[in-house]
């Protein structure tokens, strides 16, 4: 606040000497956070990803205003209409309709809501439990560490999509259970990152100093140690969105996630699959959406890895 007040006031000493003196001052040191943002903005991959994600987020938020029609409304007289550029198509349904006459464009727009939601919920589950498990394992070490990390190894002993399928198979197919399964399956990735960082930071002077000053375990973990492993966690979270969206679409495609008539991209593909001989558009567009949404998060995650955490580069 003070700085801003100074600037807005008329400068009484705008003599050339004063200006020169000010220019000679060393530049203000930038916080690591701002420096990271700066590098991120200069990273073309990250920016491309960010743009794609923004488009999808806007689509999800503004779906009721963007979608030309009700995504669930059936119109039996308008079944399997092709997109508008096809001679048989019309501007009533820009991307055509499915076998129930539902407007494909509207369903795709509403589908972005579900995919963003899936990403958010699954990543929150794995981030929360993964961070907790990793922090506890790294901080307390010994038997507890061994027990937690062996369990994480066990989860990693399954191909992740298989484990998600099996969990949903036992819990019963639904979007909620699919999100849960995908969240659980990715917990080890976060736990490993956090545990590694905690082990690395724990013996550093600042942590031991804080401990000597009487800081409790919780304060040491959350206030002192965790902020220092944020960079790899942010990267993993972004990439986690990508894999969560992809896996949820796969589960829904197999009939184990979102159930019809929910406008979910994977479920739409499953429906379109029966139509591939007659309606290529019912297959093509939902899949493109999945591809772009996943690509957006992968691009951002990749760019972030380069910008925020040079150690992680491969």
């Amino acid at each position: 606040m003070k700085v801003r007040a100074d600037r807005s006031a008329p400068d009484p000493v705008a003599s050339p000497a004063a200006v020169a003196a000010r220019a000679a001052l060393p530049p203000k040191p930038r916080s690591p956070f701002r420096e990271g943002i700066g590098r991120l903005v200069r990273n073309r991959t990250a920016v491309a990803g960010l743009i794609i994600i923004t488009v999808f987020l806007l689509m999800a938020l503004l779906a009721p205003w963007l979608a030309p029609r009700d995504p669930l409304a059936q119109a039996l007289y308008a079944k399997l209409k092709p997109p508008f550029w096809d001679p048989a198509g019309s501007f009533d349904h820009l991307l055509g309709t499915d076998d129930f006459g539902r407007d494909l464009l509207s369903r795709i727009i509403y589908g972005s809501r579900i995919s963003m939601l899936v990403g958010l919920v699954s990543v929150t589950i794995s981030l929360f439990f993964g961070t907790f498990a990793g922090a506890v394992a790294g901080f307390y070490g010994g038997r507890l560490d061994n027990l937690i990390m062996r369990f994480m190894d066990l989860l990693l002993a399954f191909p992740s999509i298989l484990l998600a399928i099996v969990i949903v198979a036992f819990l019963g197919p639904s979007l909620r259970n699919a999100m849960l399964a995908i969240g659980v399956v990715s917990i080890p990735r976060y736990a490993r990152i956090v545990r590694g960082s905690v082990l690395e930071e724990y013996n550093k002077d600042y942590v031991q100093g804080a401990r000597a000053l009487g800081a409790g375990d919780g304060r040491l973990i959350f206030h002192h140690i965790l902020p220092n492993c944020l960079a790899p966690l942010i990267v993993q979270t972004t990439l986690g969105f990508a894999s969560a969206i992809l896996e949820a679409a796969a589960l829904s495609f197999l009939g184990l996630g979102a159930q019809p008539p929910t406008p979910e991209w994977g479920a739409m593909l499953a429906n379109g699959r029966a139509l591939i001989l007659r309606a290529w558009w019912a297959v093509t567009f939902p899949g493109l959406m999945i591809l772009f949404a996943v690509l957006g998060f992968n691009l951002l995650g990749d760019g972030m890895r380069d910008a925020l955490d040079p150690r992680l580069r491969d």
Partner: protein, 334 residues
């Protein structure tokens, strides 16, 4: 070396035991009574009771696990609900199909992926480099169940070049001995069948290969770039060796070490991806079988199939570890 292999082999035991415990406990996730879920709402009380008894669901948990383990050790996974056939027999018939598909996919992924990676690295910042790196990013993000459908529309429906689905045409007669159709047709000396089987493999294998291919391309490129910066490469160039000799005889060998690890790890992704690919192409492998067991709520079969796939997965990882230590002797037991 033999000590290392022994060590890794022994470490497999607790892992497999852990997997079995996890797979066993999964039945506890079922909301309500598993036996009732398996037989459906219209089953009689007697039938449900019988199934409960047959599955041992009326016993305490630790006894159930003991029974589960002892059956596993004896290689008895029970019978499939739908066919009443032994689960081990059903798996044995279908697993070769999945292995054949995965190996073919890996062949695509390794050859095309490494080729793209090497060319990208030796021509860094060229048009080819940019194009292949963008393509590999797209490849990593690819929903393969969608790609499979699109390839089907293009190459089977519109162009009619490749068969739509399945492992073999109906009019081909092949005596199946090993259940590996490629091997069977070679053994029988039936070239017409071999051609047919190969044709059926192309689309599913390519679909399955996209993600590993993209990852292999990226790793090969970065590993190759790393090696090309080393002093001994500069020395080789200074000696006047040809581009080819420098790149392929000096650089590639050392650049391959990380690539091998990645290739090994991709097998797991292939096993998972096979479930999706097999569904799309009606490929009669373990993935499709497992999924049908899921649809039929045949929990016994799901457990058996999962057990098998997970065990295969960790075994492959172990083999990769051993191979890695063999290629790179600096890594040893610790």
């Amino acid at each position: 070396m033999s000590r290392f292999i022994l060590h890794r082999l022994l470490s497999l035991i607790p892992t497999v035991l852990g997997i079995s415990l996890l797979v066993f406990l999964m039945v506890q996730l079922v909301p309500g009574d598993p036996a009732e879920m398996m037989l459906g709402e219209r089953a009689s009380e007697q039938a449900i009771q019988d199934l409960r008894q047959q599955l041992g669901l009326d016993q305490p948990l630790y006894i159930q696990y003991g029974m589960f383990l002892s059956r596993l050790v004896r290689g008895d996974l029970g019978r499939a609900l739908r066919t009443n056939e032994k689960i081990t027999v059903e798996i044995a018939e279908r697993f070769p199909a999945t292995i054949e598909l995965s190996l073919m996919a890996m062949l695509f992924a390794v050859t095309l992926g490494m080729l793209a990676g090497i060319i990208s690295a030796t021509r860094q910042y060229s048009l080819f480099d940019y194009a292949s790196m963008i393509l590999s990013l797209v490849g990593v993000s690819m929903p393969i169940f969608w790609l499979g459908l699109v390839l089907m529309i293009i190459f089977s429906v519109n162009l009619g070049w490749l068969p739509l689905s399945g492992r073999m045409s109906y009019n081909i007669q092949l005596q199946s001995v090993t259940h590996f159709y490629l091997l069977d047709s070679v053994l029988a000396g039936d070239w017409k069948a071999l051609r047919d089987v190969l044709w059926h493999l192309v689309l599913p294998a390519f679909t399955l290969s996209t993600i590993p291919m993209a990852i292999i391309a990226r790793i090969t490129r970065s590993s190759m770039l790393e090696v090309l910066r080393q002093d001994y490469i500069r020395t080789a160039r200074a000696k006047g060796l040809s581009r080819f000799a420098v790149h392929y005889q000096h650089a590639l060998k050392n650049a391959l070490i990380p690539v091998i690890t990645v290739i090994g790890l991709q097998f797991g992704i292939l096993l998972g991806g096979a479930i999706l690919t097999e569904t799309i192409f009606a490929w009669p492998g373990i993935g499709l079988w497992l999924l049908n067991a899921v649809y039929a709520r045949d929990f016994n079969a799901v457990q058996g199939g999962t057990m098998l796939v997970a065990t295969t997965f960790v075994s492959i990882n172990m083999i990769v570890d051993v191979l890695y230590a063999w290629v790179n002797p600096r890594i040893k037991v610790n």
